[in-house]
Symmetry: C2
Subunit: 364 residues, 2 copies
Amino acid sequence: MSPFPDRIVATYRLSVPEADAESRALAIATEQSVEMPLDAIDDPHVRSEIVARVVQVRAAGDAFEADIAISTQTTGHEPGQLINMVFGNCSLMPEVQLVGLAFPPGFVQGFGGPRFGIAGLRAATGAIDRPLTCTALKPQGSPLAHLVHLARTFALAGLDLVKDDHGLANQAFSPFAQRVPAVQRAVDEANRATGGRTLYAPTLSGAPAALAEQLRIARDCGVRAALVSPMVVGLPVFAELARTAGMPLLAHPAFGGAARIAPVVLFGQLFRLFGADATIFTNYAGRFHYPREVCLAIADAARRPWDGLAATMPVPAGGMTLDRVAEMRADYGDDVMLLIGGNLLEAGARLLERSRAFARAVAG
Amino acid sequence: MSPFPDRIVATYRLSVPEADAESRALAIATEQSVEMPLDAIDDPHVRSEIVARVVQVRAAGDAFEADIAISTQTTGHEPGQLINMVFGNCSLMPEVQLVGLAFPPGFVQGFGGPRFGIAGLRAATGAIDRPLTCTALKPQGSPLAHLVHLARTFALAGLDLVKDDHGLANQAFSPFAQRVPAVQRAVDEANRATGGRTLYAPTLSGAPAALAEQLRIARDCGVRAALVSPMVVGLPVFAELARTAGMPLLAHPAFGGAARIAPVVLFGQLFRLFGADATIFTNYAGRFHYPREVCLAIADAARRPWDGLAATMPVPAGGMTLDRVAEMRADYGDDVMLLIGGNLLEAGARLLERSRAFARAVAG
């Protein structure tokens, strides 16, 4: 929590020589607020209330960390402008990373956070006291009948959530308006057969008009969750979707590494702030290479008490396999959604059996 | 240009040991297309048409470059999905940078590019055979009367374009609906007094509904250009604005985080592809630290012939000063817009005089 009632404390890691650390911190405070020479500002109100302030500069390993207090007024309490004020121009400085954000009491509530969160996902799936299971429909380019077959099989196996691969969008080979109703129907039929409550989360993508049309199609055919890549559609768009979609949103991290923001801040804090009910991130020792402590920190930021915001479900992913279920439960506890994609599909003709084994592994 | 009629060639810089270069290139080809083990894909159509292919891996300094051919089908010809396919998941790999994009003939025309471009900006301002001049209203937090005073002064001095500071959004201290009509009125009055044609470009920001409302307000009061940060509002949103705004858009690089996408690709190519009529980037030896050759490459990518797309006006910026005008003309030629902000404001009471000197410097 920020110690200032009207200032956000943003922490930047500065990979600069010691002699430059203080002056770079001052330069960032200017860059991230008034963006002009301080000497040319006469207005005492601007100087005292709008210009960002350096709170502290300290050594941190082989670099430095600077805490900078940024006026909440400058954010307009809008997601895009908040990003602009904490990491707009600084994102263009290779030697600067955003590694921490602390907000004053009450500030985050204006953004709303998750509308469903962990509790909402548990209520929707009926999975109350264990990790949730999730898998993905892939590869893109497959005939619709194949995707429908996969979805039916996963639902029959009792997995909690079946999402589109984030590469499935609205391509000519897989138009949203055909794919989504057909997959939802297959999941509905399987649910009726098993008495289960598998959710299907299609990818919402594109510009605002396309997103609105996709949301309408999804609602009309009974879809109850969706997958969105906040960095691809834009953070303000994602926040608006969270306010209006009326269903849980899974945030996908695609294009998230293009800004040099610490993963815990982007995928843990900011995605939660803007309304992610679940946040997918690349777990350690998979196809991606975040360190274990970074992954645990993301999960912690997603779930810990935060000024009244609902908790976001962490979803470690990216090359996970069935034989890591026990290890992931040990790492993350039960408030987690385990996402295994390709490793199930590798079972080929034994897909139903391996998917059932995944469901059983978290029930035990 | 891509040598394949239905494939984009994306070039990635891989900071990996030589022994891993080929296997990492293969892994990226999978990651950026089907995102699952190739052995688990039976469908021959998916294997031949959808899976991305490694074209070449070569040494490049102390790293490697891999050319990977990505199916145009997978992009759905939509800006967000294009980004997702060329740098969605790979953006999460610190050892991978996107450094080049080549598209097949005709592909880029589907995105439209700049609707006005260099020619449109020259027509709107009447500045035909010289660099354009641009400055910014700042600091944010100033009373409206001060911003109006600045705008009037800049227009009286004959600068071609006055933009909002990109930090000016829709904050309580400066609501868009009050600020923009008042500033436009002052610019209109000055234009009538001088016979000039100064444009005012306010910042459009926020989620889609807010953007639409701001655009309506801007049009209603006669605004003829706008400033947008594509990475803040979202690239698909920016592309939609370019299609629908009916006025030139200046793209601001905030949140561009271009450490992982080469600046030339993001600010030169992609912003142009998605419709930027002008692209602001941080010039060398200012407050930011891009090398000179990177800056010249951005300008070249913005302006060079590109499969029928209009040319984007390059706008080197970020701490530029009046005494660098000659140097910038020598660097960039006359098809450039020179943006000087704080250095004009430092003139204080002599603002009109220094702004006139800026206008004269490019007229000479």
